[in-house]
Symmetry: C2
Subunit: 216 residues, 2 copies
C-alpha cells in the first residue's frame, strides 16, 4: 500500500479497469468504491481525479465517473502513436547505446527467446514488456521513457490479446532479433523503421484484434 491511500487506490482501480473488472461504460460509484476498499470517499475521489487526468475514466460534473470505452478506432490511433514513440526510442537507443543499456537489452531479449521457444504466451507477454522497456531506457530520454511506459500501460490489455493470435509469438521474436541487430549496429533509421512496423503490426492485424475483443 504505497505510502498514501489515494495513490494506492488509483493503481488498484486502474488495474481493475485495465483488466476489465470494471467494464467500459460502467459507472463508478464513489460510495461503493469507498466501502469496497474500506476507506472514506475522499481518497476515492482523489484517485478518480487522477484517472480522469490520465484519460482512463471521464468525470462529468455532478454526474459521476464512467469508464471510458476507447473503441476500436481510438485503440488504433493509440497504437499509431505508440509505434511512432517506440520508433523514436529505438533510433535514439541506436545512437546513444552504452554498455549498461546494451546488457539490459541482451538480457531481456534472451528471456524473450526462452519464453518464445517454450511457447509460453503469458511469460512472453511479460518478458516482451521488459524488452521494450529496456529499449525505452536505452533512449536515454527520461521524458520519452515516461511517455512510452504510460502509453504501453494503457495498451497492455490489447497487446496481451494480440499475442494469443497464432504464430504471433515466433513472428514477434524474430522481429525483436532484427531490432536488436539494428540497435547494436548503431543504425538508428533502421531501428526506427523496424520498431514502427513491429508495433504497427498490431494495427495492420487490426481486424484480428477487433475480433478477439468482440469474442470476449
Amino acid at each position: 500500500m504505497s505510502e498514501n491511500v489515494g495513490r494506492w487506490l488509483r493503481d488498484e482501480i486502474e488495474n481493475a479497469i485495465l483488466s476489465y473488472e470494471f467494464a467500459p461504460g460502467e459507472r463508478l460509484d464513489e460510495t461503493v468504491l469507498a466501502n469496497r476498499f474500506g476507506v472514506s470517499r475522499t481518497p476515492v475521489r482523489e484517485a478518480l481525479m487522477q484517472l480522469d487526468a490520465i484519460g482512463l475514466i471521464e468525470i462529468r460534473p455532478r454526474r459521476g465517473a464512467i469508464v471510458i470505452d476507447p473503441g476500436p478506432h481510438r485503440i488504433y490511433e493509440m497504437f499509431e502513436v505508440m509505434a511512432e514513440l517506440e520508433g523514436l526510442a529505438g533510433s535514439l537507443a541506436a545512437r546513444r547505446l552504452d554498455k549498461a543499456s546494451r546488457d539490459a537489452i541482451t538480457a531481456t531479449h534472451g528471456r524473450c527467446e526462452q519464453s518464445a521457444a517454450a511457447g509460453d504466451s503469458d511469460a512472453y507477454y511479460y518478458d516482451n514488456e521488459e524488452f521494450h522497456k529496456a529499449i525505452y531506457a536505452a533512449s536515454r530520454s527520461d521524458f520519452l521513457q515516461e511517455q512510452c511506459v504510460q502509453l504501453h500501460r494503457r495498451l497492455r490489455p490489447y497487446r496481451r490479446l494480440q499475442l494469443r493470435v497464432r504464430n504471433r509469438l515466433s513472428t514477434s521474436f524474430s522481429e525483436h532479433c532484427a531490432i536488436v541487430d539494428a540497435i547494436f549496429a548503431g543504425d538508428g533509421d533502421e531501428a526506427r523503421r523496424l520498431l514502427r512496423t513491429h508495433v504497427g503490426i498490431q494495427g495492420e492485424r487490426f481486424s484480428d484484434l477487433v475480433a478477439s475483443m468482440a469474442a470476449r
Copy 2:
C-alpha cells in the same frame, strides 16, 4: 469558473505555473492557495492531484507539492518528442486531408503571414499555435491531436521565448509555407520531415533558448 471549482483551480494554477507566477521549485501550500482563491482545501488538493498526474508539479507524500523545474535537458527531450508527434500529425494530414481541414490550414496560415509581415511577435505566437493545431486536427486522429495539444501546452512558454530570437519570425513562416505545400501535395514523408525539423529547430538552437531562460 468552469462548472466545478476543482477544474477551475486546476486551470488557474496551471496557468500560474506556466507563466512563472509560481516559480519552479516553489512549494505550493494548500492552505495559502485555498485562502488566495477563497475556497476550502479540498478542491485545492484535487487540483494539485491533477497537476501531479499531468506532470507539472510533484507531490511528495507528507511533504507537500513543489513546482517541477524541467531543466534545459528535459525541455530538450520534450521538444524531441513533440517534433516526432508533429511529424506524425503532418504525415497523416497529408494522407487524409479533406476540404474542411484544408480550409482551416489555409486560414491559419494566412493569419501567420499577416503577423509575420507586421513583425508582431505576440500575434504570430498566437496564430502559430492555431496553425499547428489545425495540422493536429487535420491528422484526423483524436488521440494524436490530444497528445499534441497537451504537449504543446506544456512547451508553450519556451516556444514563446524562442520566437523572440531575431529573424525567427520570418524563418518560421517560410518553413510553414513549405509544410503547407507538402501537406497539400499529399506528400506525407516530406511533411513529416519538414515538421520534424521545424519543431526540432527549437532544439538545435537550444543554446539560444537556454540563454533566454537564464536571462529571466
